[in-house]
Symmetry: C2
Subunit: 357 residues, 2 copies
């Protein structure tokens, strides 16, 4: 059929990402059905880029990938000591959890230690992201609460931080509140990117978020992985958080989630954190590396596949869970195999494992 001239490729700003690379694709019946493009950076704690693919220079919103950095003041400002926060609480403060009962219990306990309840949370209310937990809640005739919000642990940590500093937690999500000032200072210091009006946005849980280049995000997690460049207090806090997360991979996410599954198998050698809109970070303490991935379309499945490939390659890890996320068979509702989700073989260093279930 006659086809008139295709529309020209969109002009800048779309062209700003024309250099992105394939992160992962999805096949059906042996044919590529969908493709995800984006960028990835692997950086050491000195800021040397070990690997970069796609546009790693344009600033992106790190979203929930930086929760462990936002939790550093819990240690450096004495809130963890003041309220004797256990490792489960420190891990939940770094979590995007699924709203399962174990997550809700720890968030409730964190608030109680500071003398508050979920009325102090300013993250908003949504049903548990875990569908089994959501249905169980409904089956019990119970409503969704702020405790089920995937960020409730981080926010419970903010309440603790506020109280430890002698501040009223009310309004802690505001950029001018002492808690957000502390969080902003540590994020700017660890990423090396100044916070301005120009790179500021508002996150899904109402707190300010600042866009940073992908290679700066990777640098931040190389520093978090090693303590190098953080200063003594933040380095000690990072070590404590790494240990707390590694000991509680369920708290960081939940049933069936990438971060939980990967860290149950590979922590403390590998620490990972997903963020909304297809962002993923990895800390590799032994190699002294940080990894950051952005799937340009926001696709989480591709960020997971790309991160798994980069962990295997730069973390020199080989495990079933990484092979699963790098290349897995997709099934329909009848359990029939219909295709695959595959990381880019370029990211994997030229080869992919056999497909797994």
């Amino acid at each position: 059929m006659p086809v008139n001239q295709n529309m020209p490729f969109p002009a800048s700003p779309a062209d700003a990402h024309a250099g992105d690379v394939l992160l992962a694709d999805v096949t059906r019946g042996g044919r590529v059905e969908s493709r995800h493009y984006g960028a990835a950076a692997v950086v050491d704690a000195m800021g040397r880029t070990v690997f970069a693919a796609g546009d790693v220079a344009t600033a992106i919103f790190p979203r929930s990938t930086v929760k462990a950095l936002q939790a550093l003041p819990l240690l450096t400002e004495g809130a963890a000591e003041r309220f004797a926060l256990p490792d489960t609480a420190l891990a939940l403060a770094c979590a995007s959890h699924q709203g399962e009962p174990e997550h809700v219990a720890v968030a409730t306990d964190m608030l109680a230690r500071a003398g508050y309840d979920d009325g102090a949370l300013e993250c908003g209310v949504h049903w548990p992201l875990d569908s089994v937990a959501a249905r169980a809640l409904a089956a019990g005739g119970l409503p969704a609460r702020a405790l089920h919000n995937c960020c409730s642990g981080k926010h419970a940590g903010f309440v603790c931080l506020s109280c430890a500093g002698g501040h009223d937690p009310a309004g802690y999500v505001g950029a001018e509140h002492p808690v957000m000032q502390s969080v902003s200072r540590v994020l700017a210091a660890v990423t090396g990117i100044a916070h301005t009006r120009e790179n500021q946005g508002t996150d899904g849980c109402a707190i300010p978020t600042w866009a940073v280049p992908l290679d700066s995000l990777a640098l931040a997690f190389a520093r978090f992985a090693t303590g190098q460049g953080l200063g003594e207090a933040r380095a000690a806090a990072a070590a404590r958080l790494r240990a707390a997360i590694a000991a509680n991979p369920f708290m960081i996410a939940g049933t069936g989630q990438f971060d939980t599954r990967v860290m149950e198998a590979l922590a403390p050698r590998v620490l990972t954190k997903m963020g909304a809109e297809g962002v993923m970070v990895v800390a590799l303490p032994a190699q002294g590396l940080g990894i950051a991935v952005k799937c340009r379309d926001g696709g989480v499945r591709a960020a997971e596949a790309a991160a798994a490939a980069l962990i295997a390659r730069f973390g020199k890890e080989d495990s079933p869970v990484l092979r699963h996320y790098m290349r897995r068979t997709l099934f329909n509702w009848n359990g029939q195999p219909v295709g695959e989700l595959r990381a880019s073989s370029d990211l994997a260093g030229g080869c992919l494992p056999e497909s797994s279930s």
Copy 2:
């Protein structure tokens, strides 16, 4: 920070889509956070391409966008008459529904008219896609059933088609079953694309699916919109299905869904159908046009935004629901505006409406 040379843009087959165009983007704090690329075609019933953007030649799986074509044999082979299927049933046969009680009731009735129950369904079982319906089911202590599967109406139609033809429905999802033979014949005829092993895959609900170029998919819906090129019997069947869908936009999808919202406002002038992995088709009977969109990364939000822009432009429609999907404000869990989802202004013909909620 030093950045070594970026990885080269992946070689073919990724380059097969290097010509795709921006469909939609997502902003946060005034900065682009995510971008979706893909292709779109607008074709008339004579096969003349009125508009093409991106790669419209590579075959893609149409997924659920072709359900109305798969339902044509219900009319042409006498099943609708034999079982006196009401318009609600004909609409549900074309639906990807959310598993709400109204959908389940109609699917149950369709099966009963043929003397069967949901034990005859071969689409597999999943919880209602509508989270309120899923929680209500759980709150009632009831399990998920095949009736809740988003394709249960289509499959109930297949059972009716099988019985009307004097065939045992058992195994109707198999490519060799008379029902799938009928479905394959009509799809190949209306799209003009032969079905071979090479372009065959298996759909999410277990039936065979065949990849077709995007402009051929658009042609199929220009034919469905007008009856031109279908032959008398299929043209009459298409007219009946168009009327049934237009009269029952809730049946085609459900609460809050694009197809339901757009057709509640614009049917019968505009008929739409989404498909998994970011496919969307539109039939514009008055203009005699068919539209097909593929978001290359599978992103439904971008396919919706692009389809809304093309409906406004080529259907010469202006309505709040189209403006909503073309450009809308995104809110966080606290109801604060955090950014926008915007169709490409190129697709919209150079301008976008003001942002809407």
